[in-house]
Each structure stands twice: as C-alpha cells, then as structure tokens.
Amino acid sequence: MRKKGFSLCLAAITCVSLLAGCGEKAKESQTADNTSAVQTQEQEAADEQNGEVIQLKFTSWSAGGEQKAVKQALASFEEQNPGIKVEAEFIDNANYTAKINTLMAAGDAPNVAQLNGYLAPEYGAKGQLLDLKPYLEGQVDFEDILPEAIFEYDDKIWGMTFGVECQMVLYNKALFEEAGIDAPSTDAANPWTWEEYVDAAVKLTKDINGKHPGEEGFDSNNISVWGTKVFDSPIFNFTLLNSNGGAYIAAEGDRLLVDSEESKEVLKELQDLIYVHQVAPKPAVTSAMPSSQQMLMDGQLGMYMAGQFEIATFAEAEWGDFGVAPLPKFKKPASMIWGEPLVVYDSKDEKVNEAAVKLVLALSNPAEVNDLFVTAAQMPIYKSWYTDPEKKAVWTDNAWHNESLMSYFDSLFQTETTSREAYYVKNYDPIMAIVQPRLDKIWDGVDVDTALEGLQDEVAPEMQGYYKIVDYYSDAK
C-alpha cells in the first residue's frame, strides 16, 4: 500500500514535469517549424522591418479537392514571390465564423480571408478591411473581370472572389429521352417557361408501378423517380421570385417583398410542385449529403436547380451524361452569378497590405488555381478565360464541361443576371431567420397567404436599410 501511494506521487510529479517539458517542446517545435510558424502582427512588422520575409496569414473554408487546388496555388505563389510566406489555415465551413470572430475579437485577424459576402460591406464599413480599389487599379483590367467578382460599395472595393458560381437546371439526359422530352434550350436569354418545366417534371415522375402523377392509381408514397426537387435554400428560390418580379427583401432594405403578389405566386407554384403536381419531395431542411447529385446520376431524379459547383461531384465520378438548362422563367429570364469574396484585413502596414493583395490576385488567377476550375468547383472570374480558346481549353477540356454546359455559359454572360440580395441588404441573416419558419410552413402545405400573415410586422424591427441599392429587377413595390 505504501509503495502504491509513493509511486502515485512519483507519477504525479513526473507527469507535471513532463508536461512542463512538453509545453516547452510544443513551443520549440513551433518555432522550429519556422517557415509556417504562427506569428502575430507585431512580429510580422518586426520581421519586415529587417527587410526580411513578409508573413501572411490566410484562412479559407476550402476542403477536399478545392483545398488541394488552393494549396497548390499558394505553393506556386511563394515560389514566385520569395519575399512572402503564406501560412494557410483551413477551417471547416460550419465553424468558420466562430473561429474568425474569435480571432478578430482577440486582435488576431488573418491578412487574407475568405468571407461570407454579406459580411464584406459590414466589416468594410466598420474599418476592418482594406479598400482594394487603389491597389487593383494599377494591376487589373476591370473590363476583363466579371462584375460579380468585385464587391464594390460606395467607390470602395471590400473584396474580390477567386471564382464565381452560377445557377442552372441540371437534368439526366437519359431520363429526358426516355420520357420523350425535348432538350430545353440552353440559351439563357430564351429559357423554357415555368409551365414547360412543370410539364417535364410530371413526365419524369414515376412511382414504382411506372405511373405518372395524375394517372389512376398513382402512389405518391412509393416514388421511384422524382421529377425535380424544391430547395429550401433561399438562393435558388430567390432567382425564381425575381423572374416573376418578386424578391425576398426590397432593395432599400426597409421592408419585405416576399409577401407581394408576384412573390406569393412563385411560392405557390413551388408549393404546388410538392402537393398538386406531386413531382417533388418536401425539401429537407439541412442535408449535407450529396443526395441530389447522386440521385441524378442514379436516375432517381430527373432534374433539379443547382449551382455549377455540384458538377464537381459528377467530375469525381467522371460522369458527363447530364444536360444543362437555364432556370425556367415566369415573366422574364432570371439567373444569378455570385461568389464569396476574399477580403484583406487592414494590417496598417503598407508592405504587408501590398503583399496581401498580391496573394488575392494570385488566387483568382485561373492559371494558378487550375484544378479548381477543371473540376467545375468554381468558374473563372476573367471573361477572357471564356472567350480565348486556348485559355478556355485549359479548364473545359473534359467530359463534364460538356456541350450543354458550355453553350449555357456562353449565353449566360450575354444576358443580364440578378444580384444576390444578401450582399446588399443590411442584417440579412437575422431577417431571413424570421422569414424561414414561414417558408417552412409553406413547404409543409400551409396556404401561402396564411403562412406569411403578420410577417412584415414581425420583421420590421430587424430592417436596417442597405449597403448598396441594386436593381434586381423586381416589379413588386
């Protein structure tokens, strides 16, 4: 017994000293890994005062294949810029804001960060971010950049994306042929109508006995092929609202437009897809699973509204047998191009800021971040990369950048697209947090008018105006 007690004490003492030693070791290995060591901004400034290496901290939520591509781009950036070292931290998307906020609160904000677009104008207005305009003016051909890539507010540029996304309808070609549906036009200026879309969905939807909705004996609890899906995500439904002249929030950011006649029409049509036409299942509230892509590939889903980044899943499976169509139109064609920006936190040090901007430009250069665009995870922000045949071939020469997709891209840039209201209206997140449960009711089958009753009043305290007035051509007033 005595021995046991003694050895216990000894163990305790050993451990504590080991711990102290390990704490030191951890710090040592930290400084030993010098090339990518963490350095605070004070140390950065000290370093560069010696005319030495500039340390940049970069955060991003890229994962998987995207992350690999970004890492490659960072490596080649360091090669081409021997005076700059980049320490990259990849934080998973779900916890990204928590970490960034913690860093900002402690004064440890990174130099370059990927950021949710609607935060860019907010942080910029509060003086956290660097205005990129004076830096970009000399280095970039603004004519060549897609407008959606630049986050400009009041003559200041708070962020720049390194790639963009666009919306489209993806469909299973084989299922379309089987159902005898003509391939819809890929011309974004002349898309198919909503009625044609619903029609196709009905033809595509089959239960396990091969019956279509509306036919005698159709069993809606045992569907083998769904025509389409209704998504909960505001970003797709927003474009449809726009197409009918509606929107979620007014551009002035002082009231909702989701309860306008135009908007309600669209919401009702979406609801009908589920309950009247029975061509779509109820939207899953949150699903991180790639079920839509998988279902499409497996022939269990006919078509659905998607972002082009979903093609990355097809790329991984090396499947190119899908067709692309613009979003169906209500009153006028509507589509959206968007991207989340990279921002530069103002380090108050000229040299560091310059280096940071260089990094941003390098990351958005398709020649550097090749893989990102090849896998269709992102689209290049420079127009020349769509028109110049040589550049184009670099990222589109594969099975999934098929004819359908490319002809859609071509027409997309010729048409006017709408803007993402999240980036321009203040307090977007809390406002939508109040709207969302009402939309849930609609997906649950509640009458649209009833579901939205009293919403304006409920939301009123959260309305805070706008960062920038954009015209996303809503007719609703």
């Binding site: 711990l19 890229s62 994962a63 320490e87 779900a94 970490k99 440890d108 079920s291 979903e310 499976a317």
Partner: protein, 277 residues
Amino acid sequence: MKKKQKIAAVLDFLFMLLLGLIMVFPLFWMARSSLMTQSEIFRKPMQWLPKIAQWKNYADIMTMRPFARWMCNSAFIVFFNVIGTMLTSSMAAFAFARINFRGKNVVFAMVMAAMMIPSATLLIPQFMIWKALKGIDTYAPLILGAFGAPGFYTFMLRQFYKGIPMDMDEAARIDGASPLDIYLKIIIPLSKAPLVTVAIFTFTSCWNDFMGPLIYLSSEEKYTAALGLRSFIGMYTGQWHYLMAASTVLVIPVIILFAFCQKIFINGINLSGGLKG
C-alpha cells in the same frame, strides 16, 4: 424457480442481441461506407456491402493528410488529459466527500457551477486569456484544463466516495493518519472502478473533441485527428468515403481501450464491510 430464471435469461439474451444490433449498426454503417466509393454511400435503396471493397480509402487518408501525425497528436493530448483528470478530480472529490473544511460548500458549488455555463460564451474570453499567456497554437489550452478538476468527473467521484463507509476514515484518524494518508492508502485503492470509469470517459471525450483544437490550433501539423475529420467536408461537397474511413480509424482505439478495461470497472469493488489490504 429455476425454469423461470432460465426463461428470463434467454429472453434477456434475445433482448440484448436486438439491442446490440441496434447499437452496433452505426459502426457497421461507418465501416461499410469507409470501403465504398463516394457515390455508393448514399445510394438509395441502401447498399449493405460495397461492390468492391475500397481499401485504398484508408491508404488515401494517410497520404492526403498527415492523419497518422494527427492521431499521435491526439494520443499525446489525451494521455495528459486522462492523467490530469484522474489526479485532480479524485483529489477534489475526496476533499468534498470526506474532509470537513471551511468553505467546502462554496468551492463545491463553484465546481458544479462551472458545468452549467454555456461554453459558447466562454470561448472568446478564454481565448483572450490564452493569447495573453502565449498559449495559442500550443497544446497548453487543451491539456491544462484537465488539471483543474473538471466538474463532471469531480462530481461523479464525489458521489462514489460518499458511498464508502466513514468508519474506515475514522479508524485511520484515531491512528493519527493525515487526510493524505487516508487518500492514498484507503480511498485510492478502493476507487479503482470509478477511476477507470473516469479515465475511459475522459479518453473518449477528449479523443473526439474538435472544438478546443479548432479554436486554439492553427498549424495543420498540430491538428488532432478529430479536428482533421472536419477537413473532409467542404462548403458544397464532401469526401464522405474518406470521412468514414477516418472515423473508423478514430473509433478503433477507443473500442479496444474500452473492451480492455470494461471488466475492471464493471466488476467494481466489493465493499465487504472491512478494510481491504
């Protein structure tokens, strides 16, 4: 009588079988998904077995990410967490349960209170404290917490210790033993079972913890395995087959440890009313 018992035993066995199947299902699902290609995992109706076992998933996760390194990091952190918790929690629990000292109830109340605070709000101030102590991107914040007698385990041990008859303590005190003697010679030997319990629980929760490492670690090579798991899921896409393979790898040490130790803490101790040893 005997027949009744036998029937009961058989029914019990069947029930356990059913329960066991339900409980092991996630492990099965994880393991089978880890051997599939990405597209096979979520196919409906569910595929019970992969067409071809994709063993390369396991090779891939080791090469694509420094997963082996991450697991070593996890082991390092977990080891100290277990030691720290076992040591300080049992000390504090002993004091709460068996020493009568001034201010005991206040301190105990605070230890309890510490468990009731939503961690989200402590996140930022704790981070700032560690920043001031230069502990960011080190393992210090992830280990030293365990040396502060975490409430969960302190409370549990206190309950255990309160269940041990006091006459042993009293006898020892009459003999002139100090609380330290009582702690080392009487209580510790008797608390093998709860201590092993504490060790296992600490191991498990620390092994799977990602929030702490997420906030405090920024260098990739310092990541723990649980944190590294998250690197497989992106904003729009995810590499689920790798995630499953990594999860399976992560789960195995815990299962082994548990299988090894479970006899010890289940059999517990037999307080046959007298001093042991």
